[in-house]
Symmetry: C2
Subunit: 417 residues, 2 copies
Amino acid sequence: MSDVLRLAQRARVAATGLAITSSEQRNRALLAMSAALVSRESEILAANRVDLDTAREKGTPDGLLDRLELNSARLKSMADALEALSMLSDPIGEIIEGRTLPSGIELTQVRVPLGVVAMIYEARPNVTADAAGLCIKTGNAVILRGGSLAHRSNLMLSAVLAQAAEAEGLPAGSIQSVESTEHAAAEELMGLYGYVDVLIPRGGAGLIRSCVENSKVPVIETGIGNCHVYIHEAADAEKARRIVLNAKCQRPSVCNAAESLLIDASIYERVLPDILKELVANGVTLFADEATRTLDAVDGIEPATEEDWGAEYHDLRMSVKVVSGLDEAIDHINRYGTKHSEAIVTEDYSASRRFLHEIDASSVYVNASTRFTDGAEFGLGAEIGISTQKLHARGPMGLSALTSSKFLLLGNGQIRE
Amino acid sequence: MSDVLRLAQRARVAATGLAITSSEQRNRALLAMSAALVSRESEILAANRVDLDTAREKGTPDGLLDRLELNSARLKSMADALEALSMLSDPIGEIIEGRTLPSGIELTQVRVPLGVVAMIYEARPNVTADAAGLCIKTGNAVILRGGSLAHRSNLMLSAVLAQAAEAEGLPAGSIQSVESTEHAAAEELMGLYGYVDVLIPRGGAGLIRSCVENSKVPVIETGIGNCHVYIHEAADAEKARRIVLNAKCQRPSVCNAAESLLIDASIYERVLPDILKELVANGVTLFADEATRTLDAVDGIEPATEEDWGAEYHDLRMSVKVVSGLDEAIDHINRYGTKHSEAIVTEDYSASRRFLHEIDASSVYVNASTRFTDGAEFGLGAEIGISTQKLHARGPMGLSALTSSKFLLLGNGQIRE
């Protein structure tokens, strides 16, 4: 039997045990996990140093090294997040609906854990604590498979967290990490139909695509965002300027940052130049259509290609296009967007209504920055990720995205006639 | 471009149009579809006769021929179902939740169509009308792929329904059928990531397994049921007898019929003989463990094999096992069951509580027949199928299982600090 299959079998057994733990017991485990991250800091940082040294030898860029690095402050913030999770209300056991059926059977639909959750993710080791915490909170067993750069950090973190959880009486196998960094191990995990109830990839488009293509286990796709801001002809120019700047520049590396700016032909000569100047002043490189470039508002605008319209840059690049009006804007966004977060800036009531209803995306904004698409901002408490698919969960996912339901039926000898 | 891809592209465009139709418009289309099934009866029955003749030439068994055959009464009942659907309340546009965020942005989460739904199903042509109706009700474009036996019937039904829907102003491409009966066409459909939002297979375990194994599109698994009735030592013997007989014999071909009977060792000698006699008197063939067979209650009990514990017979066969008590019963069911419907018969309060919480299934019963697992019985209105997976929907699926959601955010120039 392979290591991955053995792990999955242990997880399956653990899930059965976890399903009957109390909320109180799981919250105690979260507090113990939180404390262990602090009390075992030296072991964790030692493992992290080995990862950092290996990564440096490989010539890993500074940005990635920074994401990989742990220190006291970062461990403390991971510990704080676990503590905060313990204080959130528990979705498990919630009665979703219920009624007495004509036969007299009393039916209730209750929220239950999914069972076994697998997470495949990339560089940052904080995802290990985050994912383990979210799964324990919701009574799921978790199988973690982090990126190879953070391999030793992840194994140490998951061992520390698992030991703390088990010491509080949670089943062995509730938190496990895949030991192998081989691609074959991830592929095997994707094939474990019947053992794994859901696979959640967290990372770049390549990882997510690979999970969708190869997984026999249900996948929740997360966090691919080619988001647009569309300045309608009835826009307030100052709101438009503020929103575009914020959506593009406030944190360009995240999935809810805007990648593309659309503006109506009837106003672009008046409104666009100032916005382009401010974008460039903030370090943004522009890729634009012919109309924008002939404005000559700023230097160095590159011609936009078909690829630019579909690109998720994740950095200070932005595509710009002049559109004939609302229809073209909606068509363009529904064609090139990734159904994540889309915004219109307008003072026109009917235009706002059409945009809200006709744009196919998880989060559709009128006169606000796309940067708000986030579990905490939406008031969901913890966030598991941002789903860009339509099944099970869409948009920022709170704890309930890690749950399923079952119907309980209390009878008195009823049979079906 | 392949035929299937062309179909999918039309469906994608139709879905955009359908998403902005009103509930009233879709209900009018359902009534027109219902009327068309009656007014175009002769064309539909002529196509069906060709299928029946072809099937007879191939030596198709009578049972399948009966499922394939359409007649006035059956068409009328399909038409009535579409009319009933038009009268159900519409889940689309429902506001699931909402709040004003600290920034002053007003957030609402609304129910929207999934987009493009693909259904792959087997022999019965009534599924064509049923699936088309459910999808139109919920604003989804549908791509239908029925079994080859009913090929001409399905194409004619889907053409009649599509024409009626389009005549009421629904977009062209809202209802389409795959022309080819080749397996490659079904496989292509499963690969249309980005065009198809969900694939719902309806049919036997082989079909469902094939979709799970091969699909890159999200799948909702339906209707595989290896259901158990467990007679606990504190059972009322008369309730146990009634429930076992009903769960096994009332309609043995359906997924919520019981396939396996478990009974506690402390009572089996007293309670089991009468039940076995009645099962046999009702034509049931038994496959049982050593303890049951040495009871010598009835003749001709076959020894149960490992395969019997996992079997979904779909007919008048049943496996029987004596268990040591509640723990063994729960373990056995969680190991061999398909997480569909499971029942305990007991008068013991604590045993009932443990069974409800520890059995991992869509529907868990105390003192009632598993045969109640059904959308209509559960009060859900229309039923799309019975999900035996945990993601998106579990158990009988009502109209809301064919929906997704989106967040609408109304701002006034808000940006993220």
